[in-house]
Symmetry: C2
Subunit: 352 residues, 2 copies
């Protein structure tokens, strides 16, 4: 090692799902939405003035926070926006998790949480899910430096009730509790209605899943202005302008189209329920999912083998080589046509 | 203070220049380019398929690193891209400045450096510029945890020669040396040609200034693959997908148009030289600038008063209320027409 290499930070990063460059792939591996974003995107594209690109964007991203405030019936001061919910949660970790006590999150959950904790040198403990992949509330009653969990959880898809979320909040009023609701629109009840009662609650959502805009990188946190201000101070200590002109302009145009949003959700939920029946009939087992993916295992066939086989058929699902979940596949809900091709390939595999 | 507020990070953020929402403003306060981006942007907009927005972008941003590699005659493994050079430098601070010894940067320089250092709890020392705003190389000969300086420096506009840069490198072979070249294209010689000789050199550039794309948020670092890999590991520990689909697509289309790039630069440099003469004739003093701004002071008139007066005329320049430079204005070079309006307003002010 050369001397100049001595102080280079060495860290094990999060590995995102593949973004295959080959064509004609059925991509069920990163929980993207199979339907295009709301038609307002096309109109926004047409009316976007490219001369705007020479100017820095609004550092406060007001056009987005104002539209979000309208949609949720809250104030713009309740919203922090970032480059996807990953950016938002990363800023939240830096802003809120500065205690000497460990933060708490489930042992099976979004695997970025431990990466951020390592990155920012935050201590953490990971209470085990029960045998049905449910979070055990009582594990979160002890003293801690903060709490974060996704609802529905990922990669399991399991939803906890709003009563459950409130129970966690009731037992954790002296730390910040983050509920990561990336998948909430696919069948859950948002914790947003608890914001009035719990000033220490931060809810995180995203444009990447239900709003079909993973490629635009827009996520947001909803919370009381003390939390939002603190996050903005951290953000402004790293990068003044995180949201580019196109995100601000195009992103702000799609929020008000509630009908398109709800129609798209209804289609995905319908396909998900069909998928559950089909997979069950093929012998798969999975916890009930209220998200846009299913976390499935099969007694007879190894998940890794199925994963590799599907890849040869140009069908990408997600496989985690992680102890405890290494015999599971996380399958994103695509269109009905895409899922039919998946079922066909699975049947072929099992017939072999 | 409520108990849940106890562990919230309190930090003094960087304050960016105003992005006024009023119309018809002459905006000479954030060093934007007065000319629109290359015409390829409009073509890229037309051909951009908005359905792409439902998919996550390529986490490796290959389309950008490949085009940059072609432009500079290097390999894509030599490039790291981020959300503006602020994102790039912030990642570089986290990646490279992990020594117990203080990093070094000039006392008058880009004011984000000390914000990042505070944010990431990096010790720093700030050797004083000399009376002509030049960096004193010998101040950087002592043991340190890393070196960063802009060339040309900001907000002074003062350029150091490549010999000077190499002198700093020769004396700092055991740490990472970052040369922040946001303004290099306006008359300086890039340190890129020293990369072969110094493996510990990282050069940072941006699309925000010379390439008229401040609103797209694209910055990049050029260095040997060991440095670039280490930065990517840190980036992938925070956010897998920082560059959205539009940045990747539109950004990649403008790089090869060298003629438009050089023509725009020539126009700005020409206007800058005229501006120097005009300002001198009005009694302003300033270090010679090789950037797209001039850092000017006047013996008779207080900078703050001029700044406030110009604002009433809807002309925005930058004023820093910082000891040592609080009688200076940083004036971005606009079009000839914009600068004529500035001169007119200044003459009016002085005639009063």
């Amino acid at each position: 090692m050369k001397l100049w290499e001595k102080n280079i930070r060495v860290i094990e990063p999060y590995v995102p799902g593949e973004q295959p460059k080959v064509q004609d792939v059925i991509k069920l591996n990163t929980n993207e939405n199979p339907y295009p974003p709301a038609p307002e995107v096309e109109e926004a594209k047409e009316s976007f003035n490219t001369d705007m690109l020479r100017l820095y964007p609004d550092p406060d991203a007001s056009v987005l926070t104002e539209e979000l405030a309208k949609f949720y019936g809250l104030n713009k001061e309740n919203f922090f926006v970032g480059v996807g919910s990953d950016d938002v949660i990363s800023v939240a970790f830096q802003t809120f998790f500065n205690s000497d006590k460990p933060i708490l999150f489930p042992n099976i959950t979004y695997s970025f949480y431990c990466v951020w904790a390592d990155m920012y040198r935050i201590k953490y403990e990971c209470p085990k899910l029960d045998d049905n992949f449910k979070i055990k509330a009582e594990d979160y009653y002890k003293e801690n430096g903060g709490v974060i969990f996704p609802n529905p959880n990922a990669p399991t898809g399991v939803l906890e009730s709003l009563d459950f979320v409130e129970d966690i909040l009731r037992h954790n009023q002296d730390v910040i509790v983050i509920v990561d609701e990336a998948y909430i629109d696919f069948g859950g009840k948002s914790a947003i209605e608890l914001l009035d009662k719990y000033e220490n609650l931060l809810v995180v959502q995203t444009f990447s899943k239900a709003r079909s805009m993973a490629g635009m990188r827009i996520g947001y946190a909803i919370g009381n202005p003390v939390l939002i201000n603190a996050m903005n101070s951290v953000k402004f200590s790293v990068n003044s302008y995180t949201m580019n002109q196109t995100s601000l302009f195009i992103g702000s145009k799609i929020i008000s189209n509630k009908k398109y949003f709800e129609d798209t959700l209804a289609k995905i939920i319908n396909t998900r329920e069909i998928t559950k029946e089909k997979l069950k009939a093929m012998g798969f087992e999975f916890p009930d999912s209220k998200s846009n993916f299913i976390f499935a295992t099969h007694k007879k066939y190894a998940a890794k083998d199925i994963f590799e086989y599907l890849k040869t058929k140009k069908i990408y699902v997600r496989y985690f080589n992680t102890p405890g979940i290494d015999n599971y596949l996380r399958i994103t809900i695509g269109t009905d046509e895409q899922m039919d091709k998946l079922f066909e390939a699975l049947e072929q595999y099992m017939d072999k």
